[in-house]
Amino acid sequence: MLYSEKVMDHFQNPRNVGKMDDADGIGEVGNAKCGDIMKMYIKVDDNGIITDVKFNTFGCGSAIASSSMATEMIKGKPITEALELSNKAVVEALDGLPAHKLHCSVLAEEAVRAAVKDYYDKHGIAYDAKEFCAGDCAHCGEHDAE
């Protein structure tokens, strides 16, 4: 089997799938040309806790599973912790991904960060811009932007 049982579980029964009309932050990453786009919605309370998360993904099995896993890992957590979510942690939680699918986990990490950044922007919360672009995003420059 190409995927672990965990991946297949999250692919077949994705958690927190859907849209959110009253989201505090929305992040969309990826490129349809490359075959995957993730859109993540977060709801944040006054204490900076992510109380709800939703995602929509266009992509392969591992893209859907990575998004699903990422939402589970940040739900109920403080924003600061969500920002620490690494693609590696997503991969580990999924019991591994095939090598050529690792970019899906990177995309999941980027989707979370993009949603948080959007939340900061919308709520006038100051942040260090550098923190949101390490310059090593998996898809940077691989294809022309659409």
């Binding site: 692919f11 077949q12 994705p14 799938v17 859907g18 849209k19 969309e28 349809a32 040309k33 490359c34 075959g35 995957d36 786009i37 993730m38 859109k39 929509n56 993904t57 266009f58 992509g59 392969c60 099995g61 591992s62 893209a63 859907i64 050529h100 699918k101 691989e142 294809h143």
Partner: protein, 397 residues
């Protein structure tokens, strides 16, 4: 319900092929090159298989060389043209944009070695134009290689017309007929074919065995050195059981060709008609000009691998030309060659059926595919953008 709809990838072996093979394994395990009786008994069986295969193609036994499959046959055909052309300083090869990688990668390698490669357009309908072939031929053209039928979308190429042009111009013509043999009536003489590749496992034969047909007078170049087998053109002790299994499968497929076509075409048409009802779907390749069993669709707003996996969970085996199934960032070169944009090509599905499929199975596919497509569209941000007009649809509703 279990539905195997990936016959273009491989087929289940037929009883006839299995029986012929097991019989050969038990009774003619000798080395056909040995001079003793045990060896010569295997030789007789081997040569009988060669004659039977030749007959199915309208060829003679001497024109049949056994290979490890379609890819080897393609490589050997190209190498042959290169060697024959080299004597006359011919360093130009014509092919198409949507050939199998066994041809395309061999040509890419030659391009690095200084060969000039012309890859013809296959147009929106996935059919090469004979006029384009004629226009591309130059005095230094060593080979024209055009597949008989495309493996992903199933479109049949005007092989006979292209062959006639090549004859007229004195250029060698090879066709990769891996998806056609056993599914379409083929006559190498009438079709003006100089070299043809086929693979046994695409018509219910065993894997790892195929044929390179080369018209009498074409001196094949050798890929594998090391012995006098196959008249010195392909060393290695012949795989007698597989060759015998291939012959049995091809004989059966050829004998039932009309009957199978009469059964499969209506199933395919039902499949196409049903899948077309899905909004923003598109049948890839010419509507009429296709092998009996291959159907390839694009569905906007979704990605093919997830579609394939969800269908698999419902018992349906299919394939997709998405990047994720190709192991690269780019979707199928075949779909891109039709002018389909990357974003849409990712959402492709190939269903390839044959005479072993039933109408109930087609009904089951037609129930499952729209449900899975709708489900995936429901969670797709691309579909959301298409629906609200942020992205433009590529196909009509």
């Amino acid at each position: 319900m279990q539905v195997y709809a990936d016959h273009a990838a491989t087929t289940e072996m037929s009883e006839a092929a299995i029986n012929a093979m097991t019989e050969a394994m038990r009774t003619v395990w000798g080395n056909p090159s040995s001079l003793h009786t045990v060896g010569q008994e295997a030789k007789v069986v081997l040569e009988k298989a060669r004659e039977e295969i030749a007959e199915c193609l309208g060829a003679t036994a001497k024109e049949i060389t056994f290979t490890s499959g379609g890819s080897e046959a393609d490589n050997q055909a190209i190498l042959t043209a290169v060697k024959l052309g080299a004597a006359k300083q011919k360093k130009h090869i014509i092919s198409t944009k949507f050939e199998h990688h066994a041809v395309l990668h061999a040509l890419e390698k030659l391009a690095k070695e200084g060969y000039e490669i012309t890859l013809l357009d296959v147009h929106e309908n996935g059919v090469v134009s004979p006029d384009d072939v004629r226009a591309a031929i130059r005095p230094e053209t060593a080979l024209v290689t055009v597949m008989y039928a495309n493996n992903e979308i199933g479109t049949i190429q005007p092989v006979r017309e292209i062959g006639a042009i090549c004859r007229e111009k004195g250029v060698l013509f090879h066709t990769d007929a891996v998806q056609a043999v056993g599914h379409l009536p083929i006559d190498v003489a009438k079709d003006n074919i100089d070299m043809l590749s086929l693979s046994a496992h695409k018509f219910h034969g065993p894997k790892g065995v195929g044929v390179l047909y080369a018209r009498r007078g074409i001196r094949l170049a050798t890929l594998i050195e090391g012995g006098a087998q196959e008249r010195g053109k392909r060393a290695g002790t012949e795989n007698t059981p597989s060759i015998v299994g291939m012959a049995a499968a091809l004989k059966e497929a050829t004998a039932h060709l009309e009957e199978n076509t009469a059964k499969v075409v209506p199933l395919r048409e039902k499949l196409i008609t049903g899948l077309r009802k899905i909004p923003y779907s598109h049948l890839n390749g010419d509507r009429e000009r296709r092998v009996p069993g291959i159907v390839n669709f694009c569905f906007e707003g979704i990605e093919g691998e997830s579609l394939l996996l969800l269908l698999d969970m419902r018992g349906i085996s299919s394939s997709s030309g998405s990047a994720c199934t190709s192991g690269s960032l780019d979707p199928s070169h075949v779909l891109l060659s039709l002018g389909i944009p990357h974003e849409v090509a990712h959402g492709s599905l190939r269903l390839s059926i044959d005479e072993t499929n039933t109408e109930e199975q087609i009904d089951y596919i037609l129930e499952a595919v729209p449900q899975v497509v709708n489900y995936l569209r429901g969670m797709s941000p691309v579909w959301e953008d298409l629906e609200c007009g942020k992205r433009k649809h590529f196909f009509a509703k």
